[in-house]
């Protein structure tokens, strides 16, 4: 019996969108002096609203406000008081969670199921977790009274706009720093709603400043002389440039960059759950995840049958309107990103890999791509080496555990890896041998504010989340600890 699910769209009215959004500087929403930018709903390719962006003078104003707030209010405030503000923000995120989820889905294109069940709850969790640390910094093992660094300049990407804002803002504030943060130009809305929450929480002016604009604004921010700490999440190319530009300034940097995560399936794995884990690893957020499990390594003894099972399961993914509560895979964030993904896919076909795509139908308007799998890929192909950042899985096979380790580590990146086996000793051995910052065993893409996250090699350095994430916002120089 055929049974079609009727459309179950979330109401876009819940987003309560304004027609115009402004940067949030020194505790107030004010017009920036940069050029206006429209923000687009990737699900429909229609304009959502207009965002005022900043210029160099606005950035300067934001950094100065952050400095004032740091010196006169935030760094001298008792930790317990800072914690109260963070708890207040966390509670308000929970209260406005439905609105935030809708805003995020409209602006980013990811399914409402994900924003509702993952992005927004995880954002609140991050604030709750760090709120608890604010008055306990002396227990981090970094000395009796670890000191903040000062003003943090932070630049975040478009794939998890709200969650990345939380990853950056919450630990910085808990540790006693103030921030100037810039969201991606395609996804500024959810963080500007967060700004409303921050304003409503009566956070002292200047503690959090949100500036809007494209890469040039981010570049001016991280190079601004008034910044003490730079935290960047985004592409490896930009991360490399930031590191070059800041070399010799003594400024502390945390970079969380690209990845080409290996998902390794052994013949003794729980196969049905491994299939689910691969799907979650590469089609979660349309594969636009830095730690995506984009390289599948399957043991040759089960490869054919296993990939067949995987394809059958991918066929059942519901691709389409991100606002529909039954959508599993939504829209690609922008036309430009869709173009980048398509170009890499073309390269894969040209280099001789076999492309298989789900037969799902795609909406006419908006930026969509069918979930896809490349088989017969070789390690030298671009699709095996470069980050595709889209719903495209590259599969290769291996014969022995050593070969799996060799192939998995053979990448300039080292952010994430997955190991699927029912044998505990093998899982432990693999985890020790894999050069990746996060290794999941029999699961994938699971996050917790208490677990630190970060990469090896060209995936960046520094950790976010957990005690080591807080340490990145504290002065951990030896003399300071000794003092």
């Amino acid at each position: 019996m055929e049974w079609e699910y009727s459309p179950a769209p979330e109401s876009s009215a819940i987003a309560n969108l304004n027609d115009r959004y402004m940067p949030f500087i020194d505790g107030a929403f004010k017009e920036g002096d940069g050029e206006d930018r429209d923000t687009i709903n990737p699900g429909t390719a229609e304009r959502l609203c207009t965002v005022s962006t900043v210029n160099a003078a606005d950035i300067d104003r934001a950094v100065k406000a952050a400095r004032r707030a740091y010196q006169h209010v935030w760094s001298t405030m008792p930790g317990a008081e800072r914690g109260k503000y963070l708890f207040r923000i966390a509670r308000a995120i929970v209260e406005r969670s439905r609105e935030l989820a809708v805003v995020e889905t409209l602006d980013n294109g990811k399914p409402i199921r994900e924003t509702r069940d993952f992005d927004v709850p995880a954002t609140a969790q991050h604030f709750f977790y760090h709120a608890g640390w604010a008055d306990k910094l002396q227990h981090l093992g970094l000395g009796a009274a670890p000191q903040p660094l000062g003003v943090a300049g932070q630049v975040i990407p478009w794939n998890f706009p709200l969650l990345m804002a939380a990853w950056k803002i919450a630990p910085a504030l808990a540790a006693g720093n103030t921030v100037v943060i810039k969201p991606a130009e395609t996804t500024p809305l959810s963080i500007l709603v967060l700004a409303e929450i921050i304003a409503d929480a009566d956070l002292p002016p200047g503690v959090v400043n949100i500036i809007t604009g494209a890469g040039d604004v981010g570049s001016m921010l991280v190079n601004h002389a008034g910044i003490d700490k730079v935290a960047f999440t985004g592409s490896t190319a930009v991360g490399r440039r930031i590191q070059r530009e800041l070399a010799g300034t003594g400024r502390k940097i945390t970079l969380e960059l690209g990845g080409k995560g290996a998902n390794i399936i052994f013949e003794d794995a729980a196969q049905d759950q491994a299939v689910e884990g691969i799907i979650n690893g590469i089609f979660f957020n349309q594969g636009q995840v830095c730690c995506a499990g984009s390289r599948l390594l399957v043991q040759e003894s089960i490869a054919n049958e296993f990939i067949e099972r995987l394809k059958q399961r991918v066929e059942t993914l519901r691709v389409g309107d991100p606002m529909d509560k039954n959508t599993d895979v939504g829209a690609i964030n922008s036309q430009a990103q869709l173009g980048r993904i398509s170009a890499l896919m073309d390269a894969g076909i040209a280099e001789g890999a076999e492309l298989w795509s789900s037969s799902c139908s795609l909406p006419k308007n908006g930026y969509y791509l069918s979930p896809s799998i490349f088989t017969n890929a070789t390690p030298s192909m671009r699709i095996s080496r470069e980050e595709i950042f889209g719903p495209v899985l590259t599969t290769m096979t291996f014969r022995t555990p050593d070969e799996a380790v060799m192939k998995a580590n053979n990448s300039p990146y080292g952010l994430s890896a997955g190991v699927w086996t029912e044998k505990g000793s093998r899982a432990m051995g693999m985890a020790a041998a894999l050069r990746a910052g996060v290794i999941w065993n029999n699961t994938f893409n699971r996050f917790d504010p208490a677990a630190s996250f970060g990469g090896y090699k060209e995936s960046g350095f520094g950790r976010e989340g957990g005690p080591s994430g807080l340490a990145a916002y504290l002065d951990t120089d030896d003399e300071a600890v000794a003092g």
């Binding site: 049974w3 049905d272 491994a274």
Partner: protein, 325 residues
């Protein structure tokens, strides 16, 4: 180790790799232990994820009608009387007299001694009569007793037999015993369809559920069924996921499509719709048919009727507008 032959052997024709699996007890054990494991965290995450599907409007009404047509309306109490069985039979044929277009349920499920009453009540209606048998619910008796229990039900006119497996034997690793009992009862069913109750609440692990599912399918079960309803937990979504995957894999290997029946603990239309979503997306739409999927339930039907009316009338009426039988 001596090779113990399993007898009797199932009458069904199986592909050679599966026929080998039942050649003797050690082959059977090797086969069952060779099945891929089930990761509990993963299966529960997947089941919880699918349970968030939002079924609205037309698809909800379609689901409710589908669920009603899949109900095995059940009474399995010590206090059952012919009167109770008659009431339930009438309800099965006409679940909602105010809305006569409401579908009939799939079957009535009773104890063996109540079968003739249900048969005469349901004659010509198309509603099947199912009977539990084989020392239900514990299964703790001799094969002789289980066979005569089955015989009574079949001779009384039951269309379907719901047997229980010997969980003690299964947990002790005596898979051959469990297997040959199913085969023997299968033969005693003659033409009746056989539902094999695994009592998943007593098997405890998903790995065991997968092994028991395959064991039952190999022995010729038409249905694999979760529970007796007498043990908690009864049916759960992740357990049914494992069983749906088993019948799907069975079909891929043999071409035969077998059926699944969760039973116990499914009380609301919302629960039932979650199971239908799992059937649709784990096994596939070809299982969305009362021949291939059933709900073993007693109170579920009334909630389905109430929700059906709410869909048609635009408002809820209340429990007193639906008959209590």
């Amino acid at each position: 180790m001596t090779m113990r032959e399993i007898s009797p052997q199932p009458t069904q024709q199986l592909p050679v790799q599966l026929a080998d699996a039942t050649a003797d007890e050690s082959s059977l054990r090797r086969f069952l232990f060779g099945l891929p494991g089930v990761d509990p965290v993963g299966i529960e995450q997947r089941a919880a994820g699918l349970a968030t599907r939002s079924i609205k409007r037309d698809s909800k009404l379609a689901a409710i009608d589908m669920a009603i047509s899949m109900v095995d309306l059940t009474t399995l109490e010590g206090a059952d009387t012919p009167g109770k069985v008659r009431n339930l039979s009438r309800k099965a044929m006409m679940p909602d007299p105010d809305n006569p277009e409401t579908p009939q349920v799939a079957a009535i499920c009773v104890y063996p001694d109540m079968v003739p009453i249900a048969v005469s009540e349901l004659k010509g209606s198309g509603v099947k009569v199912a009977s539990v048998a084989s020392a239900f619910p514990s299964g703790r008796s001799t094969l002789e007793v289980k066979l005569s229990d089955t015989k009574i039900a079949v001779e009384g006119g039951a269309d379907e037999i719901d047997m229980v497996i010997d969980r003690g034997a299964f947990l002790a690793g005596r898979y051959g015993t469990v297997f040959s009992q199913i085969v023997a009862i299968r033969q005693a069913c003659v033409s009746a369809r056989l539902k094999v109750i695994l009592e998943t609440g007593e098997l405890a692990t998903y790995d065991n559920v997968r092994r028991a599912s395959w064991l039952a399918l190999l022995a010729g079960a038409d249905f694999i069924k979760t529970s007796t309803g007498k043990i908690s937990p009864a049916a759960t979504l992740p357990v049914v996921h494992v069983m749906l995957q088993a019948v799907k894999d069975w079909k891929a290997q043999t071409g035969q499509q077998r059926s699944v029946k969760p039973a116990g603990g499914i009380r609301t239309a919302k629960d039932a719709i979650r199971y239908l979503v799992a059937v649709n997306e784990v096994a596939g739409p070809e299982w969305l048919d009362p021949y291939y999927f059933r709900f073993g339930a007693s109170s579920l039907l009334n909630d389905l009727i109430m929700q059906r009316r709410a869909q048609l009338d635009g408002h809820y009426s209340g429990a007193d507008y639906v008959t209590v039988d």
